[in-house]
């Protein structure tokens, strides 16, 4: 049965709208990070792919994505299992038909989601850098925005079965993730892993004896500026998500912003310290990855932990991301130039589990019909199990689904660019112009006259 949504005060609506408008900055930040961590000869292509993926994701989400995702209290397809209702997919009309754009929670959610789905579609671009064809990345973004993302997001944010684990089976407050650690980042990160497996590594990344020479990113300034932009975007994402999907009061966004900042800071500092100890100097790109890893983990936890716990969660996220980047690259031979799998999938999974370990709830949780659950002001028994079920769903359902869909798509529209394209660079090969034309070396300038 659809869950009735409580009234939404005007102050919450205005605050939410302000926060939603910050979210595109997260997309700008992730795009710059992806571009900076790739090669200079593919930088323009990466930014073009980011714009194209955002556009495709927005259009496809408008056509059918929101129809599958829906919102709390709106129509859905429900299965009855052992007397409990399992809301597994929304039953909204396509093309936003029937939606009143009047500041209602559903309309605000639609606005937020059109940005969030684009953000999720950007994540795999980082792992497919320097070899993923533009049209294939757009087609993959369409699949993500039209099916994978809306389905899982309905389960978490649309009053679906994961959100109702608390109300139906007594597992805490149900699966909790206000800012999208799971829906945006793990879904995007697992898609990145599938894309990386399908594409294979860049030419020259692994030598015949299995060694992996480093291919450093071409512009550290872009990467670090992207981190700062992403922080602003995350303030919006976490705050708007908490107001819309867990019923947080606008005043609570102060704590959310503090925790978001602290988790990013702790993640980055931990990565800098670890790389400083191991390599003698802090590594800028891994510190940037630690920063974003902390942000990703903050999306699930920021509304329900105190600042000291936020620092612990962010530090663990930074350490996990640092070691995971190396592990994927050297041990598993996953060539992921942007570190998307480590930052978004590993960081996101840690954030989800951290809710089960650290979260305290001081009020009802909107998306699990929590108004009927007691407000204890503390942790909820069984919350860790609800979070673990969410992680199991991501690994056991979303990963095979996204791999299968991208594998089938690769058969129709080959993902990998031709050898000539990799040698020449994606900018010249696919776009016909480089991002930095004045950087071309003119050998005749060096000939003595």
């Amino acid at each position: 049965m659809p869950v009735p949504v409580p009234g939404f005060p005007e102050a919450a609506m205005i605050a939410c709208l302000f926060f939603v408008f910050l979210v595109p900055l997260a997309a700008a930040g992730i795009s710059l990070i992806n571009a900076g961590l790739g090669r200079s000869r593919s930088a323009g292509h990466m930014m073009m792919a980011a714009i194209s993926s955002l556009s495709v994701a927005a259009v496809v989400y408008f056509i059918c994505g929101f129809a599958w995702q829906g919102f709390i209290g709106r129509p859905g397809h429900v299965l009855a299992l052992s007397g409990k209702s399992w809301n597994w997919i929304a039953a909204e009309p396509f093309f936003f038909r029937g939606m009143a754009f009047d500041g209602s929670p559903a309309s605000l959610a639609a606005l937020l989601q059109i940005f969030c789905v684009g953000l999720a579609a950007l994540i795999p671009l980082g792992s497919g850098a320097d070899r993923w064809r533009l049209r294939a990345s757009c087609a993959s973004a369409a699949i993500l925005a039209g099916w994978t993302y809306p389905l899982f997001a309905h389960w978490v944010w649309g009053g679906g079965w994961l959100a109702q684990l608390g109300a139906n089976y007594g597992l805490g407050r149900g699966f909790i993730d206000p800012g999208g650690s799971s829906t945006i980042h793990v879904v995007g990160g697992l898609s990145a892993l599938a894309v990386t497996w399908i594409l294979g590594p860049r030419r020259g990344k692994y030598s015949p004896d299995g060694m992996a020479p480093a291919i450093p990113g071409h512009n550290g300034v872009l990467v670090l500026f992207g981190c700062l932009l992403a922080l602003l975007g995350w303030f919006g994402l976490n705050s708007a998500g908490a107001i819309l999907f867990t019923g947080s009061a606008p005043a609570q966004t102060i704590l959310i912003a503090i925790n978001t900042m602290l988790q990013a800071a702790a993640g980055s500092l931990t990565a800098a310290v670890i790389t400083g100890i191991r390599f003698g100097k802090p590594d800028a790109s891994l510190s940037a990855n630690g920063w974003v890893g902390g942000l990703v983990a903050s999306s699930a936890t920021c509304a329900f932990v105190v600042p000291a716990e936020a620092i612990v969660i962010g530090s663990i996220a930074g350490a996990l991301v640092t070691f995971s980047v190396e592990w994927f690259e050297l041990r598993l031979e996953v060539d992921d130039p942007g570190g998307a799998v480590s930052v978004h999938a590993v960081g996101g999974i840690w954030g989800i589990l951290a809710v089960g370990l650290f979260a305290r709830f001081h009020g009802p949780i909107l998306n699990v019909a929590g108004n009927s659950l007691p407000v204890t002001g503390g942790g909820a028994p069984g919350q860790w199990l609800a979070q673990l079920v969410g992680v199991a769903t991501l690994l056991g359902f979303v990963l095979p689904l996204t791999y299968g869909l991208n594998w089938a798509l690769n058969r129709i529209c080959p993902f990998r660019v031709a050898i000539e394209g990799e040698r020449q660079g994606m900018d010249l090969y696919e776009l016909g112009a480089g991002a930095y034309p004045e950087f071309v070396t003119h050998t005749e300038d060096f000939i003595p006259r």
């Binding site: 299992l81 052992s82 409990k84 684990l165 089976y169 007594g170 597992l171 497996w197 294979g200 590594p201 692994y206 015949p208 299995g210 598993l332 031979e333 996953v334 028994p381 069984g382 199990l385 673990l388 079920v389 992680v391 199991a392 769903t393 690994l395 056991g396 359902f397 990963l399 095979p400 791999y403 299968g404």
Partner: protein
């Protein structure tokens, strides 16, 4: 091997779902959910191993 790995991932998830629906007591439910996650870990190991074998063959 990769196909088997993905099947194991799916089987682990179905085990988790079955534990939630069929079991009532909290400890047994937790044990079976953890067992489902362990099956998923096995499936993930298979998928990763198959990817590595494919890479070695290409070399």
């Amino acid at each position: 091997m990769k196909f088997v790995g993905f099947l194991l991932l799916l089987a682990g998830w179905l085990l988790v779902l079955a534990a939630i629906v069929l079991l009532a007591s909290a400890p047994s439910r937790a044990v079976f959910v953890l067992a489902g996650v362990a099956v998923e870990a096995l499936g993930l190991t298979f998928v990763i191993r198959s990817h590595l074998i494919l890479r070695e063959d290409k070399r």
